[in-house]
Structures are given as C-alpha cells and as structure tokens.
C-alpha cells in the first residue's frame, strides 16, 4: 500500500506585507532597450527641429498689438484675435447689443458650474436650467423684452453652439429613452416605428438632414407656416441626438439582468416606477462612457449648421477672416475656436469620468 502523507499544523504561518513594487526609473523608461532608445532619439530630434520654429512664430515674431498692417510679413497675429474676438465668439450679432450674448454665455456657464456637485442635483436646479434656456432665447431675440429685436439669422458664435447643444440634448434625451424602450417593446407597431426612426436617422449624414430640414421642410409645410433656420437646424440635431442616444441607452437596458425588473415587479412596483427607480438609473450608469462620447460628438456636430446659413462658433470665426484690412490669420483664429471647443469637450469628458467614479462608489460587485 502507498504511504499516505499526513499533516497537522502546529504554528500559523506568519502574515507578511507584500514586497515593495519597484518603480521603473526615467532612464529605464526612455533608454531601456534599443527600440525605446531609438524612439527617444527620433522624437527629440523632431522636437529640436520643430519647437524653435513654433516658438518663433507664436512668440518671438508674433504681433501682440496693433492693426492689420503690422501683421503682414510677421509671425502669429494675436492682435487679430484681440480686435476680432467679439466677432469670432458672437458672430454678426449687432455690436452695440453684444452684452446680450455675453450674458447668455455667462448664464450657461454659471448654471453648468452650479449643477456639477451632487448636492445640487435637485428639482430647483432643473427648474434653473429651464429658466436659463427660456430667458436666453428671449434675451437673444429681444422683442418680447422690449429690447432691439435681433432675428435668429443674426445670432451667432458661441451662443448658437451652446443653445443648439443644450436644446438638442435635453429634448433628444427623453426622446431617446422612449425610442430605446420602443425598440424593446413587445408591441410590434412601437418596435417598427422606433427601429424605423433610428435606422433612417442613423443612415443619413447629418449634413443631409440639415439640408432636408432647411430646404425640403419649408416645401412640405403649408404656405404661411414658416420656421426660422435655427429651429430647423435644431429639429435635425435633435433627431440626430435622439437616435444615437437611443442606441446607447438600449445598450444599457440590455446590460441589466432580467432579475432586476422581476424583483421590482414582484414587490408590487408598477411599470413606470420600476423604470424610474430601478431600470433607468442602472441602465444610464452603465453607459456613461458611450453617452459622453455621443454628447461630445453632438457638441462638435453643431458646427455643421453653417451649411444652412447659421453662424455657429466655427463659421463665425471664419467670417471674421474676411476683413481685407487684416492678413487672414487662419491658424490663430482656428487656435482660438479650437481652444473653446476643446475646453467644452474636455470638461465634459473629465466630468463624466468623475461621475462614473462617484456613482460606482460601493456599487461594484
């Protein structure tokens, strides 16, 4: 017979701390092996060549103040931005009325910052958003408030970008939820309608939709019924947001185990209450990263409204370049416009990371 190895523990093994992690030093990181050494040298050479040129252009040869004459045959023409920033940021809005778009932009900035911390996620904040949106539209238009009327065709720049983004997302989001639910519905009619809407909108380039909204829509409406360009562009952007948000939200709905709904229903919660308290909070939490993606895409897509004659931030910047007294400083203008877009999109992206982290506190399985 085989001998059996028996064992009985007398003393417990000591519990010891884990050995310290060795952090790789910079030298190892940059010159650890042949490939990384080669890459380090190559990148350094490129930087040595490029950085002085960029610095010359952006700093040493740059024109910081003065008029258009000084900018010919010089480096970066920052003076242009100093002179033209109201036109770049606010388009062709009447210059003597430009305090109005400034107030609008500041109001949106303020309500956005206020809404960030969790303690301010209240009904009052939601009402605040509604107030800011409505009063911004009134202030920009002016006539209802007894100010000089400014038609939407003359609105421009940052307020257009902000208004189109905020409106198309706030209207598109509930619409997207309905579409996502419709697509999963047991009712065949609802399912077909939702699938049809989503697939048609996703199948068309946004540009086409904007053209349809701008040119085809007026032809289809009866005489005398008109929408301004801004509303038409808003309809197209809202459809676009709704269709894409719907697919993202549907992904979230699918990620939930069936037991969640069953448990809620078994407790006697109705369909709506189950949706509101159990299904949607979890579904939306699960898709924050792709949701952020869609939001950022919508922000940048507002720049396409220039094709229907609206001056958003990007096209307002372009129109500033047509002044013959200045040497069309494209790069400088695009740097400013790009910087504004970047700040908005990067801010959204950082905030969503924080949100994801905050909502997962304690929830992870």
């Amino acid at each position: 017979m085989m001998p059996v190895e028996a064992f009985l523990r007398q003393d417990a093994e000591a519990v010891r701390p884990a050995p310290a992690l060795v952090k790789r030093g910079w030298r190892k990181l940059l010159f650890g092996d042949v490939a990384s050494s080669l890459l380090t040298v190559l990148i350094s050479l490129c930087a040595l060549w490029a950085v002085p040129r960029v610095l010359d252009w952006a700093v040493f040869d740059a024109v910081w103040r003065g008029n258009g004459q000084a900018c010919f045959d010089a480096g970066a023409c920052w003076a242009f931005l100093g002179a033209k920033w109201p036109l770049i940021l606010f388009g062709i809005y009447p210059p003597d009325q430009q305090w109005r778009p400034i107030v609008v932009v500041l109001a949106f900035l303020a309500i956005t910052l206020w809404s960030l911390p969790e303690r301010n996620w209240t009904r009052a904040t939601a009402t605040g958003w509604l107030v800011v949106i409505v009063s911004s539209l009134l202030l920009m238009g002016g006539d209802t408030l007894g100010l000089q009327p400014v038609p939407t065709g003359d609105w421009g720049g940052l307020p257009i970008t902000i208004l189109l983004t905020v409106l198309s997302l706030t209207i598109g989001f509930p619409f997207g939820i309905l579409l996502a639910l419709g697509r999963r519905s047991e009712d065949r009619m609802m399912r077909w309608l939702s699938v049809g809407f989503i697939e048609i909108v996703r199948g068309l380039p946004l540009l086409t939709m904007l053209f349809i909204a701008a040119i085809l829509l007026p032809l289809m409406l009866p005489d005398g019924v008109t929408f301004d360009n801004l509303s038409r562009a808003l309809v197209a952007l809202t459809f676009y947001s709704a269709a894409y948000l719907a697919e993202v939200i549907r992904g979230g709905l699918q990620s939930l185990p069936k037991g969640q709904e069953e448990a809620a229903r078994a407790l006697g919660l109705g369909r709506l209450a189950t949706l509101r308290f159990i299904i949607l909070p979890q579904a939306i939490h699960a898709v924050i990263p792709p949701l952020t993606n869609t939001v950022v895409v919508v922000v940048k897509n507002t720049s396409l409204v220039l094709v229907v004659g609206l001056f958003d931030l990007l096209s307002a910047g372009r129109s500033a370049l047509t002044d013959p007294d200045w040497p069309s400083p494209y790069i400088e203008t695009y740097i400013l416009v790009g910087f504004v877009y970047f700040v908005i999109c990067f801010g959204i992206s950082r905030y969503s990371l924080w949100l994801e982290h905050k909502l997962s506190a304690g929830v992870q399985r």
């Binding site: 037991g259 448990a263 229903r265 919660l269 939490h285 304690g362 399985r365």
Partner: protein, 253 residues
C-alpha cells in the same frame, strides 16, 4: 379574510385550479391542482426542469399561464393589471439570485416599495426597514450597498425587503442554491423563524432537512406535473411513487 359562515373554515390562501402552461410547444405545467391553507408551509422539490419554479412564478404573474385559474386571498389572477398589482403587493418573493438593487443602499432597497406602493411616509418606512433588518440579524449593514455584502447577507436582505411589504404569502425560489455551503444555514435559520411565526410559505428548495423540519406538506414535481404530495414524515419515510423514490435516493445519498 373572513371565515366562511357555512363551513367554519378559513378560505385558502392560494387556490390553483387546472393550471396549464406552455413555452412554445413545450408543455411546462400540466394540469396542476393545489390549494394552500393560510399559515401552511409547503416545500416543492423535483429535478431541474420539472416546472417547480415556473409554478411559483405563475402565482405572482412573473410568468403568464394559458389555462386554468389562480386565486390568491380571494383575488383571481387575470390579465387585469390591477388584480396583478394587488396580488404582488400581498405576495413576497425571494429569488435564487437575490436580485437586490445594486444602486441603492440596503435600507433603500427595503424602503422603496413600501414608500412607492404602500405610500408609507419616510419615517415609518425606515423604522419598519430597520425592524426587519434586525429580524434577519443584519441591522448594522443598513447603509451599505448590496455589493459589499456576502451572498448569505444579501439573501437575508432580500427576505427583509419582501417582509417590509407585509405580505401574507412568501414564495421562495431556490433561495439557497446560489450560496456557498457555509452561508446556507444563516438563510435557512431565518426561513425557519418565519415558518414558526405562521407565515404562509411556498418554498422551492433542495434542502430536505428544512423540508423535514418545517414543512406541513412536501410536493414532488416531475415533467410539469405534481407526482406526489404528502406530510414530510410520509413523504420521506414512505414514498409511494417510483419516480419519487429514485429522486429521493439521489438527493438523500
């Protein structure tokens, strides 16, 4: 529920009459007949796929049936939403997979339905939630999230959550099957407590020790039918159907 003046007997808690259910062409429940008295404790066992989970899920309409009638405390289950909601309020259910709401704290898990469905004010809902959490012996976990609890603790929360709705009937769908062996007892202990307090219970479970200890009747199901039904003593001591004997031989090693 009133006592019948004619017979002097309380009406049954659940009456299932001629229940038939199909999944597509598969006949999942075949003419099931069952009457459960108030305060009665019933254990349903059987091989997997025998229809035992489907049967208790029909009682609170998580599954729809095609033929037959189910009556809970005098309310007949129909496709009428009001009747379904009324029955669900009165019938608690505990699932194999716990199904706690991971985005809510333990306390919120227990308070949501009483506040939304029974319209209890916050203070009352919280007091009751804490009371039932104490009864399942985890009052100190109230502010944690489900993900921070062990499986056994989660299942005890699920029981407390159901009890917060003051149900008159509790359905258990394999409540210990997803648990590590070390945690089965802590959940069974709570179920024994409940049984001893006179709760009407239908338990689908493979815990034969539990069945012997608390059940008034044990039901054995196979292929969508009730095959044998008897007191635990008779069921385990003198199983009469061939199929029951082979099943018991496999479960009771």
């Amino acid at each position: 529920m009133t006592t019948s003046p004619l017979t002097g007997e309380e009406p049954p808690a659940i009456v299932i009459d001629g229940l038939n259910k199909w999944y597509g062409d598969y006949h999942a429940l075949r003419n099931v007949e069952l009457s459960v008295k108030r305060g009665e404790r019933i254990v349903i066992c059987g091989p997997s796929g025998s229809g035992k989970s489907t049967l208790i899920r029909c009682i609170n309409a998580l599954e729809t049936h095609q033929e037959g009638a189910i009556t809970v405390n005098g309310t007949q289950l129909s496709s009428n939403f009001k009747a379904i909601d009324e029955i669900r309020r009165d019938v608690g259910m505990v699932f194999q997979g716990f199904n706690l709401f991971p985005h809510l704290t333990i306390l919120e898990n227990c308070m949501l339905a009483p506040m939304r469905v029974r319209r209890q004010p916050l203070a009352e809902a919280e007091e009751r939630a804490r009371h039932f959490l104490a009864r399942v012996r985890i009052p100190e976990q109230a502010d944690k999230y489900p993900g921070q609890l062990s499986g056994g603790q989660q299942q005890r929360v699920a029981i407390a959550r159901a009890l917060c709705m003051s149900p008159s009937v509790m359905l258990f769908d394999e409540p210990t099957s997803a648990l590590d062996a070390e945690m089965v007892k802590e959940v069974l202990d709570i179920m024994v407590d409940l049984a001893e307090e006179g709760m009407t219970m239908l338990c689908v479970t493979h815990e034969m020790g539990f069945a012997r200890q608390v059940a008034d009747r044990v039901i054995f199901m196979d292929a969508g039918q009730i095959v044998e039904m008897n007191t635990p003593a008779e069921f385990f001591g003198n199983p009469r159907h061939e199929r029951t004997r082979t099943f018991l031989a496999q479960v009771l090693h």
